[in-house]
């Protein structure tokens, strides 16, 4: 049995930032477990720029952003194991790890930080009718093939889903010489950033078909084409709008799902909305001493927020390892009301918050010129004017602890429509 103060599961942006911060807060005995052949996680394949504006005040590509953390991680001489898989985690924080190099390892940790990231929703999960030929890839898998391994998925492409990975892959495929016929989006708005719509689609005259979906897949061996149709307000395909797009490749960018199989086995309570753990202000899950951060907790739009959240988590885990648990104070529940789809964290222990707390949330629709209303019970503690809110963009709100303490047992966030 190996003993560590903190074991971090995952060496992507979340795991790296959490481990670095835990080390900076005095924890010596840390292990980071990474299942891939190198650190950096999914950032290594996100070769486009736009990362780091918040954390580094400059625009970096994914690999550049990752490398800054990897360098710091190595400078701090934090222990890590590559090509190593965590097979299970128990509530008493023992873990089973496996790798070719070290075989089966039993590890006991004082605290565990879950940073496994997320996986892509599949064609099966959205159940598109039709055949099952080769040529259907999740956008992330295609991105890895193209950007890291140097293979092309195909030449004539349709993309389903206009989240950022879908948009970025549209441009990537064009630059790699392919023809992208359309990006098909079920919703009336794109889930991606405006700059990506402009620079990845409009620059190359790729049509973005909003309120459309793919209703059939054709091709016995290799994909031959897809049938696209417009949907009505209840998301049902409108027969008369059916159109066939010839293509050899379909890329799916239809959502990300936090990868929480290990968390479930450890008995951690999950939030059905986020797909991630239910956490408190310290990013600690329902199992004491097990923390979660990054996309395994909830899917983020910008890696900068992952870093911010993970730093906080690393610091909390360090405190958990070194400090006596403090009693007292109150526990406040956060509640997503009208227009808000979720809030992280789910509860705030007032005793654990120093002066202010940042809460992260997403809205359920596009809103223009509205007010984000933060209340404790019925008392309004904050009104924030928002010109523009979109489900694709995470919002972060900072609330002072005095405001929270002054109120009741619930902190609610809602959207007040119709201006002032």
């Amino acid at each position: 049995m190996y003993n560590y103060d903190i074991v971090v599961v995952g060496g992507g942006p979340a795991g790296l930032a959490a481990a670095i911060e835990a080390r900076k807060n005095g924890v010596r005995n840390i292990l980071v477990v990474e299942r891939d052949r190198e650190l950096g996680g999914i950032l290594n394949q996100c070769i486009h720029n736009g990362f780091g504006l918040h954390i580094f005040k400059e625009e970096l590509t994914g690999p550049e952003y990752a490398e800054r953390f990897i360098d710091e991680f190595h400078r701090l001489e934090i222990e890590y194991k590559l090509d190593t898989m965590v097979l299970n985690i128990t509530e008493d924080k023992t873990m089973k790890l496996v790798s070719s190099e070290y075989g089966l390892m039993h590890v006991k940790a004082k605290a565990i930080i879950l940073a496994m990231g997320c996986r892509e929703r599949t064609r099966g999960a959205i159940n598109i009718p039709g055949t099952r030929p080769a040529g259907i890839f999740s956008a992330g898998t295609a991105q890895r093939f193209v950007n890291m391994e140097g293979y092309m998925p195909g030449k004539k492409v349709v993309i389903l889903g206009s989240g950022d990975i879908g948009l970025i892959m549209a441009r990537t495929m064009v630059w790699e010489g392919a023809k992208v016929s359309a990006v098909v989006e079920l919703m009336p708005y794109s889930g991606g950033l405006t700059r990506n719509i402009v620079q990845c689609l409009e620059d190359f005259d790729i049509p973005l078909l909003l309120n459309h979906t793919i209703i059939n897949i054709k091709g016995d061996e290799r994909l031959e084409g897809v049938t696209v149709a417009e949907v009505d307000s209840s998301k049902k395909a409108i027969k008369s709008t059916e159109k066939f797009f010839e293509c050899d490749t379909l890329l799916l960018s239809v959502g990300l799902i936090p990868e929480n199989e290990l968390s479930i086995n450890a008995g951690i309570e999950l939030d059905r909305k986020t797909g991630g753990a239910v956490v408190n202000e310290s990013m600690e899950t329902s199992v004491a001493g097990i923390f979660a951060c990054g996309n395994v907790l909830h899917v983020h739009d910008l890696v900068d927020w992952v870093t911010e959240e993970s730093r906080k988590t690393g610091k909390s885990a360090a405190k958990y390892v070194y400090e006596q648990p403090s009693e007292g104070g109150r526990t406040i529940e956060t509640i997503a009301e009208e227009g808000i789809s979720y809030i992280v964290p789910h509860e705030i222990r007032t005793k654990k918050v120093e002066d202010k707390i940042d809460i992260y949330l997403r809205v359920d629709n596009i809103y223009e010129d509205v007010i984000l209303l933060i209340k404790t019970d019925s008392k309004i503690i904050k009104r924030i004017k928002k010109k523009h809110l979109a489900p694709g963009e995470m919002e972060s709100v900072s609330i002072s602890i005095e405001d929270i303490i002054s109120g009741g047992a619930k902190l609610t966030v809602e959207i007040e429509k119709g201006g002032q």
Binding site: S100, Y151, K155, G177, K179
Partner: protein, 485 residues
């Protein structure tokens, strides 16, 4: 010259091959695709039926219950996942309960053991997730679940172990009858055999018509299924059928041998023998129909959907016979449900037919055992450590969802009926069968295939010929057309 050529390496062809490999015979098993178990065998309900469905005195009735009883030994010998979890035919009103009695009587005539009619309370006790509307059920403890393609692959491997030759990518285009043997053509290529056994599934009529006048027609119908995540795997304990009504047989539901949950099938007659895939209609049908068994069914946990074609004939009974007068040409056709359940008994029938034509002699040595791929994740900690010490590749997890190691994938490729495609590896070692459906692991599986088969990445197929996964980048690709680009 072979003694016997078996056409079609689905469950029937492989079962017959393995059964005949007990005898002193030179056998060749021919398959048009690049892998065995590629037709109906890979897309069906995966059930070993008890045998109360078929009308008494049909071949189906005779072979189903008989075949069912043979699975325990067979699956132990071949290390194939099989579990007798029992089945329930669920009635939802008094009218339907009458049907249960009919099935009960029929089952008894067909030789189905231990059938029992259960009252509402008993049923709900066995199946707490079942709809409250249940009025009673027919319980058949002998029904079971199996891995159908695992079985066919295991049968093929064991047959080869016992001397059978397997020829893949051999699509029979023509057969000619010579004096006392047959010539079986695949384009220019041909081979010779004294006897021919036609197990060509939905193409059995086509094969028959190459040598005989047409006397049956395969009119496939398509069945659509949905597979759900393991978190739903325990919804029911037994296989749940709905009581057959005028409207049809209704959707069935079961846990698979791998712990997933499956519902299906739809049933639609199709004109073409090419699988056209799932449909919106089928999806809606399943969604609507499963509600009759479980009102709060967790649709969102779906991981994939697929269709299978079933080789139906008008008589609705199996055709297992030598054609003409001592022709030595045996049809094993129209094998739709319960073909899988009946398959061991069907193979026995075929052996008897052959024995009447040419007296068969048993081999002194027949190895009935076949070892399965070691499933790393199911081993104890000590066994895991030992295995990694012996072979480091078992320490490398390739499929994160199902925890499948490189060792298992390499084994699946290196076997006598080894995988050559991504789907082939998936059917043998299961990487990509989980929630992510190969999103993370398929590139790694392709890499391993490349290395083990010593071919290029561009040659690795998803499944059949033509199902290429990747192409070369524009700079290296001489076929890169500038069209529309």
């Amino acid at each position: 010259m072979f003694d016997i050529a078996i056409i079609g390496a689905g469950i029937i062809g492989t079962m017959i091959s393995r059964e005949l490999s007990k005898y002193k015979l030179d056998i060749i098993l021919l398959e048009k695709d690049n892998d065995v178990a590629n037709g109906a065998t890979k897309a069906n309900s995966a059930i070993i039926h008890a045998g109360y469905d078929a009308l008494p005195n049909t071949i189906k009735a005779k072979t189903n219950a008989e075949g069912n009883a043979m699975f325990d030994q067979l699956c132990v010998d071949l290390s194939v996942p099989f579990s007798r979890i029992g089945s329930l035919v669920v009635a939802k009103c008094e009218e339907e309960k009458k049907v249960l009695t009919e099935l009960y009587e029929r089952g008894k005539k067909n030789g189905v053991p231990n059938l029992k009619i259960l009252e509402k309370e008993e049923v709900l006790q066995m199946e707490p997730s079942l709809t409250n509307k249940v009025a009673g059920a027919l319980f058949a403890p002998s029904a079971g679940i199996i891995g159908p393609w695992e079985l066919a692959i295991a049968l093929a491997e064991n047959a080869i172990e016992n001397g059978v030759e397997l020829k893949l990518n051999y699509e029979v285009k023509n057969i000619t009858k010579e004096k006392d043997y047959y010539k079986i053509y695949c384009d220019e290529d041909y081979l010779e055999a004294k006897y021919v056994i036609n197990c060509a599934g939905i193409y059995a009529d086509k094969i028959n018509n190459m040598i005989n006048s047409p006397y049956f027609e395969i009119m496939p119908d398509t069945g659509e299924y949905q597979l759900y995540d393991k978190s739903v795997g325990k919804l029911f304990n037994s296989i749940i059928f709905q009581c057959p009504t005028d409207k049809g047989k209704g959707v069935l539901a079961l846990s698979t041998v791998h712990g997933n949950f499956m519902i299906g099938p739809t049933s639609e007659r199709v004109k073409s023998k090419e699988n056209k895939g799932t449909t919106r209609r089928g999806k809606d049908f399943l969604k609507e129909n499963i509600r009759d068994l479980c009102e709060e069914f967790p649709y969102s946990k779906i991981i994939t959907a697929f269709t299978g074609l079933r080789a139906k004939v008008i008589s609705e009974d199996f055709i297992i016979e030598e054609t003409g007068n001592s022709s030595g040409f045996i049809n094993v056709a129209g094998i739709d449900s319960p073909g899988l359940s009946a398959s061991p008994a069907i193979a026995k029938m075929v052996v008897n037919i052959l024995n009447n034509i040419a007296s068969l002699e048993k081999k002194e040595k027949f190895n009935e055992k076949r070892k399965a791929i070691t499933q790393f994740i199911t081993l104890s900690d000590d066994e895991k450590s030992e295995l990694i010490k012996k072979d480091k590749r078992y320490g490398k997890i390739i499929c994160r969802c199902e925890n499948i190691t490189e060792g298992e994938i390499v084994d699946s490729i290196k076997r006598s009926v080894g995988a050559t495609t991504v789907d082939g590896v998936k059917r043998r070692a299961r990487p990509g069968s989980g929630r992510c459906q190969g999103g993370f692991c398929s590139p790694r599986v392709m890499e391993i295939l490349t290395r083990e088969l010593n071919v290029g990445m561009y040659e690795i197929l998803k499944s059949n010929k033509g199902s290429y996964n990747l192409i070369k980048r524009k700079v290296e690709n001489e076929n890169w057309s500038g069209e529309n680009v």
